[in-house]
Protein backbone atom coordinates (compact mmCIF):
# COMPACT_ATOMS: atom_id res chain seq x y z
CA UNK A 1 0.00 0.00 0.00
CA UNK A 2 1.44 3.37 -0.91
CA UNK A 3 1.70 6.22 1.52
CA UNK A 4 0.88 9.89 1.23
CA UNK A 5 2.81 12.75 2.85
CA UNK A 6 0.52 15.37 4.35
CA UNK A 7 1.26 18.68 6.08
CA UNK A 8 -1.46 19.95 8.38
CA UNK A 9 -1.66 23.34 10.07
CA UNK A 10 -1.62 23.09 13.88
CA UNK A 11 -2.20 25.76 16.47
CA UNK A 12 -3.93 29.13 16.29
CA UNK A 13 -2.62 32.28 14.59
CA UNK A 14 0.90 31.41 15.68
CA UNK A 15 1.19 27.86 14.52
CA UNK A 16 3.09 25.66 12.15
CA UNK A 17 2.64 22.80 9.70
CA UNK A 18 2.97 19.30 11.10
CA UNK A 19 3.80 16.33 8.88
CA UNK A 20 1.93 13.07 8.78
CA UNK A 21 2.01 9.98 6.63
CA UNK A 22 -1.29 8.32 5.75
CA UNK A 23 -2.21 5.28 3.64
CA UNK A 24 -3.01 6.21 0.04
CA UNK A 25 -6.19 4.76 -1.44
CA UNK A 26 -7.51 4.69 -4.98
CA UNK A 27 -10.50 6.91 -4.36
CA UNK A 28 -9.68 9.19 -1.47
CA UNK A 29 -10.85 12.66 -0.53
CA UNK A 30 -8.93 15.22 1.50
CA UNK A 31 -11.58 14.84 4.23
CA UNK A 32 -10.81 11.11 4.35
CA UNK A 33 -7.17 12.03 4.97
CA UNK A 34 -7.99 14.51 7.76
CA UNK A 35 -10.39 12.02 9.35
CA UNK A 36 -7.74 9.29 9.28
CA UNK A 37 -5.19 11.58 10.94
CA UNK A 38 -7.56 12.53 13.75
CA UNK A 39 -8.86 9.00 14.38
CA UNK A 40 -5.66 7.03 14.07
CA UNK A 41 -2.62 9.28 14.33
CA UNK A 42 -3.45 12.32 16.45
CA UNK A 43 -6.78 12.67 18.28
CA UNK A 44 -5.97 16.28 19.25
CA UNK A 45 -6.44 17.51 15.65
CA UNK A 46 -9.45 19.87 15.47
CA UNK A 47 -11.50 20.08 12.29
CA UNK A 48 -15.11 20.53 11.13
CA UNK A 49 -17.31 18.38 8.95
CA UNK A 50 -20.95 17.31 8.86
CA UNK A 51 -22.59 15.73 5.84
CA UNK A 52 -19.35 14.55 4.08
CA UNK A 53 -21.26 14.45 0.77
CA UNK A 54 -20.95 18.00 -0.58
CA UNK A 55 -24.14 19.56 0.73
CA UNK A 56 -23.35 21.48 3.90
CA UNK A 57 -20.02 23.26 3.24
CA UNK A 58 -18.76 22.65 6.82
CA UNK A 59 -15.56 20.91 5.70
CA UNK A 60 -14.18 23.88 3.76
CA UNK A 61 -10.42 24.28 4.23
CA UNK A 62 -7.41 25.56 2.30
CA UNK A 63 -5.94 22.68 0.28
CA UNK A 64 -2.57 23.44 -1.39
CA UNK A 65 -3.38 27.12 -1.19
CA UNK A 66 -6.90 26.89 -2.62
CA UNK A 67 -10.09 27.05 -0.52
CA UNK A 68 -12.19 23.97 -1.22
CA UNK A 69 -14.72 21.54 0.24
CA UNK A 70 -12.47 18.76 1.43
CA UNK A 71 -15.18 16.09 1.13
CA UNK A 72 -15.45 16.91 -2.58
CA UNK A 73 -11.74 17.23 -3.27
CA UNK A 74 -10.08 14.07 -4.43
CA UNK A 75 -6.50 13.69 -3.29
CA UNK A 76 -5.52 13.00 -6.93
CA UNK A 77 -6.92 16.37 -7.98
CA UNK A 78 -5.25 18.22 -5.14
CA UNK A 79 -1.91 16.56 -5.89
CA UNK A 80 -2.07 17.26 -9.61
CA UNK A 81 0.44 20.09 -9.58
CA UNK A 82 2.25 19.37 -6.33
CA UNK A 83 3.94 16.33 -4.85
CA UNK A 84 2.44 16.69 -1.41
CA UNK A 85 -0.73 17.74 0.32
CA UNK A 86 -0.82 20.86 2.51
CA UNK A 87 -4.01 21.41 4.51
CA UNK A 88 -4.67 24.67 6.32
CA UNK A 89 -7.72 26.47 7.73
CA UNK A 90 -9.71 28.92 5.55
CA UNK A 91 -7.99 32.24 4.93
CA UNK A 92 -9.42 35.59 6.08
CA UNK A 93 -10.98 34.18 9.22
CA UNK A 94 -9.47 33.98 12.72
CA UNK A 95 -8.25 30.49 13.54
CA UNK A 96 -9.72 28.93 16.66
CA UNK A 97 -7.48 25.90 16.51
CA UNK A 98 -5.86 23.80 13.78
CA UNK A 99 -8.32 23.61 10.90
CA UNK A 100 -11.23 25.30 12.64
CA UNK A 101 -11.98 28.98 11.99
CA UNK A 102 -14.27 31.46 13.71
CA UNK A 103 -17.07 32.19 11.24
CA UNK A 104 -18.62 35.00 13.31
CA UNK A 105 -17.30 37.87 11.17
CA UNK A 106 -18.49 36.13 8.01
CA UNK A 107 -22.07 35.96 9.26
CA UNK A 108 -21.96 39.36 10.94
CA UNK A 109 -21.18 40.85 7.53
CA UNK A 110 -24.13 38.95 6.08
CA UNK A 111 -26.32 40.82 8.57
CA UNK A 112 -24.56 44.13 7.89
CA UNK A 113 -25.36 43.72 4.20
CA UNK A 114 -29.02 43.36 5.21
CA UNK A 115 -28.94 39.78 3.99
CA UNK A 116 -32.28 38.92 5.58
CA UNK A 117 -35.64 38.97 3.86
CA UNK A 118 -38.13 41.52 5.06
CA UNK A 119 -41.71 40.77 4.12
CA UNK A 120 -44.58 43.21 4.01
CA UNK A 121 -47.63 40.97 3.86
CA UNK A 122 -49.35 39.13 6.67
CA UNK A 123 -50.97 35.70 6.65
CA UNK A 124 -54.33 37.35 6.10
CA UNK A 125 -53.32 38.58 2.65
CA UNK A 126 -52.84 36.43 -0.44
CA UNK A 127 -49.22 35.46 -0.96
CA UNK A 128 -47.16 37.39 -3.48
CA UNK A 129 -46.84 35.15 -6.53
CA UNK A 130 -43.82 35.64 -8.76
CA UNK A 131 -43.74 33.86 -12.10
CA UNK A 132 -40.65 31.70 -12.67
CA UNK A 133 -40.08 33.27 -16.10
CA UNK A 134 -39.76 36.76 -14.70
CA UNK A 135 -36.27 38.20 -15.27
CA UNK A 136 -35.88 39.34 -11.69
CA UNK A 137 -36.83 35.87 -10.49
CA UNK A 138 -34.24 34.31 -12.78
CA UNK A 139 -31.59 36.61 -11.35
CA UNK A 140 -32.55 35.50 -7.85
CA UNK A 141 -32.55 31.82 -8.85
CA UNK A 142 -29.05 32.14 -10.29
CA UNK A 143 -27.66 33.31 -6.96
CA UNK A 144 -29.87 31.77 -4.30
CA UNK A 145 -28.15 28.43 -3.76
CA UNK A 146 -25.44 29.81 -1.47
CA UNK A 147 -25.02 27.75 1.71
CA UNK A 148 -22.62 30.09 3.47
CA UNK A 149 -19.51 27.90 3.33
CA UNK A 150 -17.11 30.90 3.17
CA UNK A 151 -14.96 29.51 0.34
CA UNK A 152 -15.52 32.68 -1.70
CA UNK A 153 -14.79 34.86 1.32
CA UNK A 154 -11.59 32.94 1.83
CA UNK A 155 -10.60 33.23 -1.83
CA UNK A 156 -11.13 37.00 -1.98
CA UNK A 157 -8.00 39.18 -1.98
CA UNK A 158 -10.02 42.31 -1.21
CA UNK A 159 -11.35 40.71 1.98
CA UNK A 160 -7.73 40.04 2.89
CA UNK A 161 -6.70 43.67 2.31
CA UNK A 162 -9.82 45.55 3.35
CA UNK A 163 -10.99 44.41 6.79
CA UNK A 164 -14.34 46.16 6.51
CA UNK A 165 -15.25 44.68 3.12
CA UNK A 166 -18.54 42.78 3.37
CA UNK A 167 -17.34 40.10 1.00
CA UNK A 168 -18.75 38.13 -1.92
CA UNK A 169 -21.21 35.88 -0.02
CA UNK A 170 -22.94 38.66 1.90
CA UNK A 171 -23.19 40.83 -1.21
CA UNK A 172 -24.42 37.91 -3.30
CA UNK A 173 -27.19 37.27 -0.79
CA UNK A 174 -28.09 40.97 -0.71
CA UNK A 175 -28.39 40.84 -4.52
CA UNK A 176 -30.97 38.05 -4.32
CA UNK A 177 -33.04 40.22 -2.00
CA UNK A 178 -32.62 43.37 -4.10
CA UNK A 179 -34.19 41.38 -6.95
CA UNK A 180 -36.92 39.93 -4.73
CA UNK A 181 -40.07 41.90 -5.45
CA UNK A 182 -41.66 40.84 -2.18
CA UNK A 183 -38.90 42.38 -0.09
CA UNK A 184 -39.73 45.68 1.59
CA UNK A 185 -36.25 46.82 2.65
CA UNK A 186 -34.73 47.67 -0.75
CA UNK A 187 -33.67 51.25 0.00
CA UNK A 188 -31.95 50.34 3.28
CA UNK A 189 -30.26 47.38 1.68
CA UNK A 190 -28.81 49.40 -1.21
CA UNK A 191 -27.42 51.81 1.34
CA UNK A 192 -25.95 48.91 3.30
CA UNK A 193 -24.15 47.38 0.32
CA UNK A 194 -22.81 50.56 -1.29
CA UNK A 195 -19.51 52.27 -0.68
CA UNK A 196 -15.99 51.41 0.47
CA UNK A 197 -17.08 48.44 2.58
CA UNK A 198 -19.63 47.29 0.02
CA UNK A 199 -19.86 46.41 -3.61
CA UNK A 200 -17.63 49.30 -4.75
CA UNK A 201 -14.61 47.72 -3.10
CA UNK A 202 -14.78 44.76 -5.48
CA UNK A 203 -12.00 44.81 -8.09
CA UNK A 204 -13.37 41.97 -10.18
CA UNK A 205 -10.57 39.50 -9.59
CA UNK A 206 -13.32 36.91 -9.98
CA UNK A 207 -11.62 34.58 -7.46
CA UNK A 208 -14.96 34.06 -5.72
CA UNK A 209 -16.70 32.86 -8.87
CA UNK A 210 -13.65 30.76 -9.74
CA UNK A 211 -13.78 28.89 -6.41
CA UNK A 212 -17.48 28.68 -5.57
CA UNK A 213 -18.31 24.96 -5.13
CA UNK A 214 -21.90 25.66 -6.18
CA UNK A 215 -20.82 27.48 -9.35
CA UNK A 216 -22.45 30.71 -8.27
CA UNK A 217 -21.16 34.05 -9.45
CA UNK A 218 -20.83 36.63 -6.69
CA UNK A 219 -18.96 38.74 -9.28
CA UNK A 220 -22.15 39.04 -11.34
CA UNK A 221 -24.19 39.80 -8.22
CA UNK A 222 -21.75 42.50 -7.13
CA UNK A 223 -21.74 44.02 -10.62
CA UNK A 224 -25.54 44.13 -10.38
CA UNK A 225 -25.33 45.88 -7.02
CA UNK A 226 -22.93 48.43 -8.50
CA UNK A 227 -25.49 49.25 -11.19
CA UNK A 228 -28.41 49.44 -8.78
CA UNK A 229 -26.61 51.57 -6.21
CA UNK A 230 -25.37 53.91 -8.94
CA UNK A 231 -28.92 54.34 -10.19
CA UNK A 232 -30.15 55.03 -6.68
CA UNK A 233 -27.36 57.50 -5.99
CA UNK A 234 -28.00 59.42 -9.20
CA UNK A 235 -31.71 59.59 -8.36
CA UNK A 236 -30.93 60.86 -4.89
CA UNK A 237 -32.40 57.76 -3.27
CA UNK A 238 -29.29 56.41 -1.65
Amino acid sequence: MSRLKVRVWRGSGEGRFESFEVPRHASQTVLDVVTYIQRVLDPTLAYRFACRVGMCGSCAMTVNGIPRWTCRTHVDVALKDRGELAIAPLRNLPVIRDLVTDMTAFFDKWAQAKGGFQGSRTRREPFHAIAPEKESRKRVDAAIECIGCAVCYSACDVVARNPGYLGPAALNRAWTLVNDERDAARAERLRAVAGDAGCHACHTHVSCTERCPKQLSPTAAIAGLKRETARAALRGEL
Binding site: G65, I66, C156
Partner: protein
Protein backbone atom coordinates in the same frame (compact mmCIF):
# COMPACT_ATOMS: atom_id res chain seq x y z
CA UNK B 1 0.93 29.62 6.30
CA UNK B 2 1.89 29.36 2.64
CA UNK B 3 0.77 32.08 0.23
CA UNK B 4 -2.76 31.47 -1.00
CA UNK B 5 -3.20 30.25 -4.54
CA UNK B 6 -6.43 32.03 -5.30
CA UNK B 7 -3.89 33.73 -7.44
CA UNK B 8 -2.81 32.33 -10.74
CA UNK B 9 -6.11 32.54 -12.56
CA UNK B 10 -7.04 34.92 -15.37
CA UNK B 11 -9.05 37.44 -13.36
CA UNK B 12 -6.30 37.88 -10.80
CA UNK B 13 -3.63 38.65 -13.42
CA UNK B 14 -5.97 40.95 -15.31
CA UNK B 15 -6.64 42.93 -12.15
CA UNK B 16 -2.96 43.06 -11.18
CA UNK B 17 -1.82 44.25 -14.62
CA UNK B 18 -4.61 46.82 -14.58
CA UNK B 19 -3.57 48.16 -11.20
CA UNK B 20 0.21 48.21 -11.84
CA UNK B 21 -0.21 49.86 -15.25
CA UNK B 22 -2.53 52.42 -13.65
CA UNK B 23 0.04 53.31 -10.99
CA UNK B 24 2.80 53.60 -13.59
CA UNK B 25 0.66 55.88 -15.76
CA UNK B 26 -0.33 58.00 -12.77
CA UNK B 27 3.36 58.57 -12.04
CA UNK B 28 4.17 59.23 -15.73
CA UNK B 29 1.40 61.76 -16.33
CA UNK B 30 2.87 64.74 -14.40
CA UNK B 31 6.21 64.15 -16.21
CA UNK B 32 4.42 64.11 -19.54
CA UNK B 33 2.63 67.39 -18.79
CA UNK B 34 5.87 68.97 -17.59
CA UNK B 35 7.63 68.07 -20.83
CA UNK B 36 4.87 69.57 -22.91
CA UNK B 37 4.80 72.61 -20.69
CA UNK B 38 8.37 73.20 -21.86
CA UNK B 39 6.84 74.40 -25.10
CA UNK B 40 5.76 77.49 -23.18
CA UNK B 41 9.37 78.48 -23.16
CA UNK B 42 9.43 78.35 -26.90
CA UNK B 43 10.14 75.90 -29.62
CA UNK B 44 13.86 75.77 -28.82
CA UNK B 45 13.27 74.34 -25.35
CA UNK B 46 10.88 71.75 -26.74
CA UNK B 47 13.42 70.87 -29.43
CA UNK B 48 16.06 70.27 -26.75
CA UNK B 49 13.72 67.95 -24.95
CA UNK B 50 12.72 66.14 -28.15
CA UNK B 51 16.40 65.65 -28.96
CA UNK B 52 16.86 63.98 -25.61
CA UNK B 53 13.93 61.66 -26.33
CA UNK B 54 15.68 60.34 -29.43
CA UNK B 55 17.97 58.26 -27.22
CA UNK B 56 17.25 54.51 -27.57
CA UNK B 57 16.59 54.01 -23.86
CA UNK B 58 13.97 56.75 -23.93
CA UNK B 59 12.40 55.22 -27.02
CA UNK B 60 12.11 51.90 -25.20
CA UNK B 61 10.55 53.67 -22.22
CA UNK B 62 8.08 55.41 -24.55
CA UNK B 63 7.15 52.09 -26.04
CA UNK B 64 6.73 50.73 -22.54
CA UNK B 65 4.39 53.56 -21.63
CA UNK B 66 2.25 53.02 -24.70
CA UNK B 67 2.07 49.33 -23.83
CA UNK B 68 1.01 50.23 -20.30
CA UNK B 69 -1.62 52.58 -21.66
CA UNK B 70 -2.96 49.95 -24.01
CA UNK B 71 -2.94 47.33 -21.23
CA UNK B 72 -4.74 49.62 -18.81
CA UNK B 73 -7.31 50.58 -21.45
CA UNK B 74 -7.99 46.96 -22.38
CA UNK B 75 -8.28 45.95 -18.74
CA UNK B 76 -10.61 48.87 -18.17
CA UNK B 77 -12.82 47.85 -21.08
CA UNK B 78 -12.96 44.32 -19.64
CA UNK B 79 -14.06 45.82 -16.31
CA UNK B 80 -16.74 47.99 -17.89
CA UNK B 81 -18.04 44.97 -19.80
CA UNK B 82 -18.22 42.83 -16.65
CA UNK B 83 -19.90 45.55 -14.65
CA UNK B 84 -22.36 46.91 -17.15
CA UNK B 85 -23.25 44.08 -19.49
CA UNK B 86 -25.26 40.98 -18.57
CA UNK B 87 -23.07 38.25 -17.13
CA UNK B 88 -21.42 35.82 -19.47
CA UNK B 89 -19.10 33.10 -18.33
CA UNK B 90 -16.55 34.12 -20.97
CA UNK B 91 -14.71 36.53 -18.72
CA UNK B 92 -11.47 34.60 -19.04
CA UNK B 93 -11.69 34.96 -22.81
CA UNK B 94 -12.24 38.66 -22.32
CA UNK B 95 -9.10 38.93 -20.23
CA UNK B 96 -7.18 37.14 -22.97
CA UNK B 97 -8.61 39.39 -25.66
CA UNK B 98 -7.72 42.44 -23.59
CA UNK B 99 -4.14 41.20 -23.37
CA UNK B 100 -4.06 40.58 -27.09
CA UNK B 101 -5.32 44.03 -27.97
CA UNK B 102 -2.76 45.76 -25.78
CA UNK B 103 0.11 43.83 -27.31
CA UNK B 104 -1.20 44.63 -30.78
CA UNK B 105 -1.32 48.34 -30.03
CA UNK B 106 2.12 48.23 -28.48
CA UNK B 107 3.50 46.54 -31.58
CA UNK B 108 1.84 49.08 -33.86
CA UNK B 109 3.55 51.85 -31.96
CA UNK B 110 6.87 50.04 -31.94
CA UNK B 111 6.71 49.52 -35.70
CA UNK B 112 5.81 53.13 -36.25
CA UNK B 113 8.83 54.34 -34.31
Amino acid sequence: MSAPRSRGHAGYWAALVHRLSGIALALFLPLHFWALGQALRGAARLDQFLAWTEQPLVKVAEWGIVLLLAAHLSGGLRLLALELLPWRSGHKTMAAIAAGISIAIGLAFALAL
